[in-house]
C-alpha cells in the first residue's frame, strides 16, 4: 500500500484526511474517537472569547443534497477548552484549534491562551453576527488577523476562507501575506430553506450555511483557483463523502482534505476514504505527490488542444463499478 503520510500545512500527518471544524468537535472525547477512527488530524469546534449557547433550533435542515446549519458558534469559551484539547490529543494525531473572534486582538488572545498543535482561524462562518465571514470577506481583515495570530503562536496557522465572495483568491493572498501556513477552503455557502406547510424559514436563525455533496463542485473550484494562486498549501473541504471526492480535491491541488457532513453517515467513512485513496493509488501506481494538482497540468493541455495523454494503462475492469462516485448523502 502506498504511503499517505506527509506534510500538510506544517503538520506531519499519517494521512491527509482531517476532521473539519464544528463537526463532533465540542468535546475532547469525541475528537479522540474520531482520531482513533483513522483521521490524520482533528480540528476543534470554533472557540471564542465568551461562552455562547448558539442559535435557537432548528439548527440544521437535512436535504437530499446536503445540510444547512446555523449552529451560531456555540462554544464554552477558550477558558475551559484546554482540557478538551488535551483529551483529544490522546487520539495520537495533531489537534488543531479552530478559533474565532471579532478583532485581531481577540484572535490573538485565544491563540496565546491555548496549547494546540495548530490553529485554524474561522474567518468564514456565514451565520454569526460580527464574526466569521462578516469580517472574513475583507482581505485587509484577513491579513491583519492572520498576522496577529502568526505573531502570537509558533505552531502552524491555517486560515479558513469563505466561498461567499467574488474571488476567493484575494482572501487567500491576504492570508498568505499575513503569514498563514495554509488556507482551508471552503466554509459553507450562505443558504436557507422554508417550510412550505407553514411559511416559516426552517432555521431558527433563518439563514445558515450549506454543506455536503451540494457544495463539493464549488469547493473543488475554490481549491483549484487557490492552489493556482498561492505558494502556501491549500486544504480542501466541502462535500467530501467518498474516496473519489478526496482524490478530486487532491487533484485540484489540495495538500489535505477535511471531512464534515459525511460523518453523519458514521465514523466508518473515514477508514473507507483513506483505504479508498490507498487502493486507488496502488491500482494506478501513483503517489499522492503524483496526483496533487494534476488537474491543472491536464487542464492546460485541454485549451492548447494537444493530443491527449493516456489516462491509464490499466484495464477498466479493475475499476469496480460499485465504486462509482457517491454523489448524494
Amino acid at each position: 500500500m502506498p504511503s499517505l503520510s506527509g506534510d500538510v500545512g506544517g503538520l506531519r500527518l499519517e494521512n491527509p484526511l482531517i476532521l473539519a471544524a464544528g463537526i463532533l468537535g465540542t468535546t475532547g472525547a469525541s475528537m479522540r474517537r474520531v482520531a482513533l477512527a483513522g483521521a490524520g488530524a482533528v480540528v476543534t469546534k470554533s472557540i471564542g472569547v465568551e461562552p455562547r449557547d448558539g442559535h435557537p433550533g432548528p439548527t440544521v435542515v437535512r436535504l437530499g443534497v446536503g445540510l444547512i446549519n446555523a449552529m451560531g458558534l456555540p462554544n464554552p469559551s477558550y477558558r475551559v477548552f484546554q482540557e478538551e484539547i488535551d483529551v483529544a490529543r490522546e487520539g495520537g494525531v495533531p489537534v488543531v484549534a479552530s478559533i474565532f473572534g471579532s478583532s485581531p486582538e481577540e484572535f490573538a488572545e485565544i491563540a496565546s491562551a491555548l496549547d494546540a498543535d495548530g490553529f485554524e482561524l474561522n474567518l468564514s462562518c456565514p451565520h454569526a453576527e460580527g464574526y466569521g465571514m462578516e469580517i472574513g470577506c475583507d482581505p485587509a481583515n484577513v491579513e491583519e488577523i492572520t498576522r496577529a495570530v502568526r505573531r502570537a503562536v509558533s505552531v502552524p496557522v491555517w486560515v479558513k476562507l469563505t466561498p461567499n465572495v467574488t474571488d476567493i483568491r484575494v482572501l487567500g493572498i491576504a492570508a498568505q501575506r499575513g503569514g498563514a501556513d495554509a488556507v482551508v477552503a471552503i466554509n459553507t455557502l450562505k443558504a436557507m430553506a422554508i417550510d412550505v406547510e407553514s411559511g416559516y424559514p426552517i432555521l431558527g436563525n433563518v439563514i445558515g450555511g450549506l454543506s455536503g455533496p451540494a457544495i463539493k463542485p464549488v469547493a473543488l473550484r475554490c481549491v483549484y483557483e487557490l492552489s493556482g494562486a498561492l505558494e502556501i498549501p491549500v486544504i480542501g473541504v466541502g462535500g467530501v463523502s467518498c474516496w473519489q471526492d478526496a482524490v478530486e480535491m487532491i487533484m485540484a491541488g489540495a495538500a489535505g482534505v477535511q471531512i464534515g457532513t459525511a460523518l453523519m453517515g458514521g465514523l466508518e467513512v473515514i477508514g473507507e476514504i483513506t483505504n479508498g485513496i490507498s487502493r486507488f493509488l496502488d491500482r494506478k501506481g501513483w503517489s499522492l505527490d503524483d496526483i496533487r494538482g494534476i488537474a491543472r497540468r491536464r487542464g492546460s493541455s485541454a485549451s492548447s488542444k494537444e493530443y491527449p495523454l493516456s489516462a491509464s494503462s490499466t484495464t477498466s475492469k479493475s475499476f469496480d463499478e460499485g465504486e462509482t462516485h457517491k454523489e448524494v448523502l
Binding site: G22, L24, T26, T27, S30, D195, E197
Partner: protein
C-alpha cells in the same frame, strides 16, 4: 427518505397535571419505544421529545419551547424530524420498568408495545407528589405497579429507589429506565451487578440530532447520544460522565440534576 420537518397536526392535548400535557398527533409515526423526535415549535425552538405512544408525546412544561408546545391547541401543527435514535431493545420474557416523573412516558409506550407479545411487565414509578402522578392506569393495566412519591402523598414515601426493596431484580430479564439523571444513576449504582441488563433512556443537549454537531457526546467514549442513544446500557453509563456532569448548549460542563 423524508429529510425536512414533516408537518404534524395536533389532534388533541390532554392535560395530565398542572405542568404535563400529552399531545396526540393525527397520525402515528411508527416509532420504536424509546425513540424520539425533534419537535419544532415554529417561531420558538426545536426540542427532543420521546414518544409516549406511537402518535403522542408527553411534555413537561419547563421552559419556552415546552410551554409553547403545551399551549398549542388541536388543529394547530408542529414540524417534526425523526423518529430518531436507537430505542429500547426488547429482550427476555419478564421485564421491569423504572420511571420517574415525565420519564415514565416512554416506558408506558414500551410496556404497552411488549404486552402484545405476551411479555410480563412490572413497573416501579416515582413522582414528587400525588398531583404529579401520570399514566398510573396505563401501568396498572400492564401488570404489578410499585408507586412512590417523594412526599409520601401516594404509594411508598421516597424516591423511586425506595421501591426497590419490594422486588427482586433477579426476577427480571431486562430493566428499562427513564427519569431524572440522579435518580437513574443512583439506582444503577445500587444494583451494579445488574447494570448490563439495564437500558436507560438518557437526556443530553441535542442540537442537530443527526450525529454531527457533537453537542450530545458522552464522555469518555464520545458516544453520540442523539444517534447511538438515547438508550444506553447501565454498564456503559457507569463508566461515563453520567450522574457526574453533563454539558449545556455551549458545550460547557454543568452539574446534572
Amino acid at each position: 427518505m423524508r429529510f425536512r420537518p414533516a408537518n404534524l397536526v395536533i389532534k388533541d392535548v390532554v392535560r395530565e397535571t398542572a405542568y404535563v400535557s400529552t399531545i396526540r398527533f393525527d397520525r402515528s409515526l411508527d416509532p420504536t419505544p424509546g425513540q424520539y423526535i425533534m419537535v419544532w415549535v415554529r417561531g420558538v425552538d426545536e426540542i427532543p421529545m420521546s414518544f409516549s405512544a406511537p402518535d403522542s408525546i408527553t411534555v413537561h412544561a419547563v421552559g419556552d419551547a415546552t410551554r409553547a408546545l403545551c399551549a398549542l391547541r388541536p388543529g394547530e401543527s408542529v414540524g417534526i424530524r425523526g423518529p430518531f435514535g436507537n430505542g429500547f431493545r426488547l429482550t427476555g420474557e419478564r421485564i421491569l420498568l423504572i420511571g420517574g416523573g415525565v420519564g415514565v412516558a416512554p416506558l408506558a409506550f414500551l410496556g404497552e408495545d411488549v404486552k402484545t407479545r405476551g411479555i410480563e411487565v412490572t413497573s416501579l414509578i416515582g413522582f414528587r407528589c400525588r398531583e404529579d402522578i401520570i399514566f398510573l392506569d396505563r401501568f396498572r393495566r400492564l401488570g404489578d405497579v410499585i408507586l412512590t412519591t417523594d412526599d409520601g402523598s401516594a404509594g411508598i414515601e421516597g424516591r423511586a429507589s425506595a421501591g426497590l426493596s419490594e422486588i427482586d431484580l433477579n426476577d427480571y430479564d431486562q430493566i428499562y429506565m427513564c427519569g431524572p439523571e440522579m435518580m437513574m444513576i443512583d439506582i444503577i449504582k445500587r444494583c451494579r451487578e445488574h447494570a448490563s441488563r439495564i437500558q436507560a433512556s438518557i437526556n443530553r443537549y441535542f442540537k442537530c440530532a443527526v450525529g454531527i454537531c457533537g453537542s450530545c457526546c458522552l464522555d469518555p467514549e464520545g458516544i453520540r447520544v442523539c444517534v447511538e442513544g438515547p438508550v444506553i446500557t447501565g454498564d456503559r453509563l457507569l463508566e461515563s460522565e453520567f450522574g457526574r456532569y453533563r454539558r449545556g448548549p455551549s458545550g460547557m460542563r454543568e452539574s446534572c440534576y
